[in-house]
Amino acid sequence: MTGEIGQLALTLALALSFVMAGAGLAGARENAVTARGVAGSAALGMLVFVLLAFAALTYAAVTSDFSIVNIANNSSTLKPLIYKITGVWGNHEGSMLLWMLVLTLYTAAIAVFQRGSGRLTSAALGVQGLLAIAFLLFILFTSNPFLRIDPPPFQGAGLNPLLQDPGLALHPPLLYVGYVGLSASFAYAAAALITREADAGWARAARPFMLFAWLSLTLGITLGSWWAYYELGWGGFWFWDPVENASLMPWLVATALLHSALATERTGAFRTWTLLLAIAAFSLSLIGTFLVRSGVLTSVHAFANDPERGMFILLMLVLAIGGALALFAWRAPSLEGGAAFEPVSRESALLVNNVLLTAAAATVFLGTLYPLVLDALTGTKISVGPPYFAATFAPIAVALLVALPFGPRLGWRRGDGAGAVKSLLPAFGVALFAILLVLVFAARHVAAAVLAFGLAAWVIAASALDLARRVGPWRGDLWAAVARLRFVPASAFAVALAHAGLGVTLMGIAGTTLWRAETLSLLAPGESVQVGPYKLTFDGARRVTGPNYFATRADVTVGRGGASLAVMHPEHRMFPTEQQETFETSIRTTGFSDLYMALGDDRGGGRFILRAYYNPLAPFIWFGGGIMALGGLASLWGRIRARVPVPHGQAAAAE
């Protein structure tokens, strides 16, 4: 029954998506008030049915209903309950349904929060409706999670053990909330083009969605990187793997979009460019989702294995991206453009920011897709690994970080260049001090460390200075200054946090990659090895049994300067249902550095291979990501508090 309910709910949602697309687009005309109401109601109705479908699949997973192919292939009765639930989106069909659910949630949010706000929102709902139609057709015809199997198998095939992890349970939903959130800015951009209301209004209406999408994407990427770090057992946090790059590209473009839209909202500058970025950011999200889902990233040949799905995906990409770009090419030239500003101004700084971020995204795009294209066209196989990105991406990032502190200090239209430089002198001093510390204390990779820590200190100090300047702790009472923080606008916190977070992440990346200590040793019980400041003593390994796996668990005593600090337990797990092994790393963090261990092969006689890393500053990588996301949250908070309903058609007049 569950399967049929889900199937029916999806079909009804499809019907409603047609209604919403039609009514939404019809409502884009003047005075089509009824159509607008219909579109809004359809959005809410769609939410109900997609929620119902998702609940049906979750129920089937929890009750281990193996008569549904998807559950039989991806679940098993032996799995702990939490992974039965998170396993719902741990496979292709389920994750597409999650994608759809997020899309309907955003659509409903647009319908509710922007109720009665006119042509623009109506057209945006129409565009969301078109996306929903494409997605529901894709799910129903090529990726149906509710297909039955007869006779049902006695036991399911289980979920990949690597996905049976709390970090990975949260990672896809966060990333999807980010990816799909960009559909809202895409829809508003398209709506602005359709209604020719491409003034500041659309950017203002889309901004909360943009911010929410960006901060979810930031958290999703951070969480994914953290998962790779503790789960894969190499101590690495970013592999420039195509799957990772697929999420980095939309993030880079969304970051550019947030900045560009700021100018559009404020002074009407870069109108067409902001529209284009909104289209590009969601296009990259779509490409990212589908590159990963279609398996093309692993091998171009995976595409041919499932031509029906592949062709559908390709068609959808072409229609969505091509359609939006065609609309852009058609309407953008007629937009009145051209802001007026001086070369030294906030607008110029944002322009530089945008060029660098776009170039960074283009670099990742090239590095990720070039090998695929080259293979498809000529059959030549090349690898694009971390050295490529170090040579191309890193210099762009350096330029971005050097320029970053100047932006917030320049006024709109006409900035005070000399004043900005002067006000940044203390930050420059902090950077010099950081460089001095590196020169005194660093033993390895001094040149790279000077650059990285100098830049990190520069960015963080400038951000701190921005806040300090607003409350003036040097004007007497320090506590009074702290109290004055209450009056600092949320947007100032947002800028400071987002920028400082970047600096914190940079410190983590630099500390870990430049100063890591690692050992790989074959240890008999009782033997010791030194890694960084720690002495590790292997006390032996034993067999333990988990809910759905067997494990070999090692006991390793960690000592420092003669004192024993802790016993750590790296594990090697075998999942019999899935016939797979995983390596559970054991990590001991001080907040400033990680001691990281992974258990390797059993070499007989109680001897094991132990891989251990001392990763200085590693936790900063993820702290930084969290701080950036907090910045996004602060900005969102400021928006919500300051929210004044903008009457339809008066958006431009309000400027």
Binding site: N91, L162, L163, W234, S299, A339, L374, G600
Partner: protein
């Protein structure tokens, strides 16, 4: 987006058979073994070289990290050649002649990778041009009509 499992993610679908074989014989996973060369300078060279080559049966993993048996063999091979007195360049040439450019983590600079290598610079140059153009125009506009704030 899902992460594909490390074994699959890292060990390419192109060689599924080899991968399956690896799955079902747990012992076939070969941890980068501590078979270090006694000469520290030579070992350091071996470690550095390992990071430049890709494990050809994996996805995006270097020889240094891979648990695949082939990677273990290649690590041994690199060490044997270092001991035999070959230069890094000779070892690199040997591996490329055997496995093609695919084995290099850093793609070589040649006509079919010009776009890859110079693309980012091109984007930057074009971007810089656009910035100059846009700022120039904005400036002219600003000078013609003083902004109404």
């Amino acid at each position: 987006m899902n992460r594909t499992p490390s074994a699959i993610r890292r060990c390419g679908a192109g060689l599924a058979i080899l991968m399956l074989a690896a799955f079902f014989s747990a012992g076939a996973f070969a941890e980068p073994s501590p078979g270090a060369l006694p000469n520290p300078a030579q070992e350091a060279r071996a470690r550095a070289l390992q990071k430049e080559f890709r494990c050809v049966v994996c996805q995006g993993e270097s020889l240094d990290e891979s648990r695949a048996p082939l990677a273990a063999d290649l690590r041994k091979l690199i060490r044997a050649r270092i001991v035999a007195g070959e230069s890094d360049e000779q070892i690199k040439q040997f591996l490329v002649s055997r496995y093609g450019d695919f084995i290099l983590m850093k793609p070589p600079l040649q006509p079919d990778t010009y776009v890859l290598w110079f693309g980012p610079a091109l984007v930057l140059v074009v971007g810089a041009g656009v910035v100059v153009l846009v700022i120039g125009r904005a400036r002219r506009r600003a000078r013609q009509s003083p902004p109404v704030v």
